[in-house]
Amino acid sequence: MLHPITTVHYLVLSAALLMIGALGVLARRNIVVILMSIELILNAVNINLIAFARHFQHVTGQIFAIFVITVAVAEAAVGLGILIALFRNRQTVQADEIELLKW
């Protein structure tokens, strides 16, 4: 049971977290929860980057993780701003009720 933890363990954990996040994005209707699932996906990416940075003793992976976090912050701020504007105009936060651009 108590194998030493290798990089592959981290990769598997990151894949699992990515799948949970993708399921949240695809299946949930509430836009707030969809945005939270996107944060889960970005965190899965970060685990991957950090694991490889540790594996190769190269700090570039951590730099990339910092940039990913920056983009995640910008995405969350703009996404939540759009959500507030949307709620003010349409009184709904259900993703499948926003269908103006659908054919």
Binding site: A22, A27, V32, V33, A65, I69
Partner: protein, 170 residues
């Protein structure tokens, strides 16, 4: 060595449990609290991988910043009605099938194709190396200075964009 293993499984359990609760809870505030647990678990994994600076960034920025933003928006937007509605879209089975296919692919790759995953052995920790924050700053402010400045421009655009989006009349 066994302490590392124990901590890894503890943080992995915290991360995955928080993630599953995040996408299954009906109440958005409960989802946000579960997401905080998940992000703290990820921060612990960063610490286990000797990324101390990113551990601090994860706690301060994600748990302190983004999650407070989420909670503010949850309070601003009335979600009581949304909690009473159907939580999953009509194509949830399709989403589940797609994700299950990807999961099966990963499992199959790990059982059948493990030999093809030839990572070189992990590099040993160099003795007398500078601390994590110092090493990060060295590379960030020399080699990656231009991306760093571009990131600050991105943040400025995001600030302006979110202020305009949250204005009364757009």
């Amino acid at each position: 060595m066994w302490l590392d293993t124990l901590l890894f499984y503890g943080f992995a359990l915290l991360t995955l449990t928080g993630a599953v609760l995040t996408i299954t809870r009906r109440n958005a505030v409960h989802s946000a609290v579960a997401l905080i647990a998940s992000l703290v678990g990820v921060a612990g994994l960063f610490l286990l991988q000797r990324a101390e600076f990113l551990f601090a960034v994860q706690i301060v920025l994600y748990v302190g910043g983004i999650m407070v933003l989420f909670l503010f928006v949850i309070m601003l937007v009335n979600l009581d009605e949304a909690a009473r509605l159907r939580q999953f879209g009509r194509q949830w089975w399709l989403a589940l099938a797609a994700v299950a296919a990807v999961g099966a692919e990963v499992v199959w790759f790990l059982t059948k194709g493990a030999g093809a995953l030839r990572l070189p052995p992990a590099a040993p920790l160099p003795a007398g190396a500078p601390g994590n924050t110092e090493a990060l700053a060295d590379v960030l402010f020399s080699e990656y200075l231009l991306p760093f400045e571009v990131a600050s421009l991105l943040l400025l655009v995001a600030i302006v964009g979110s202020v305009i989006m949250a204005k009364k009349r757009i």
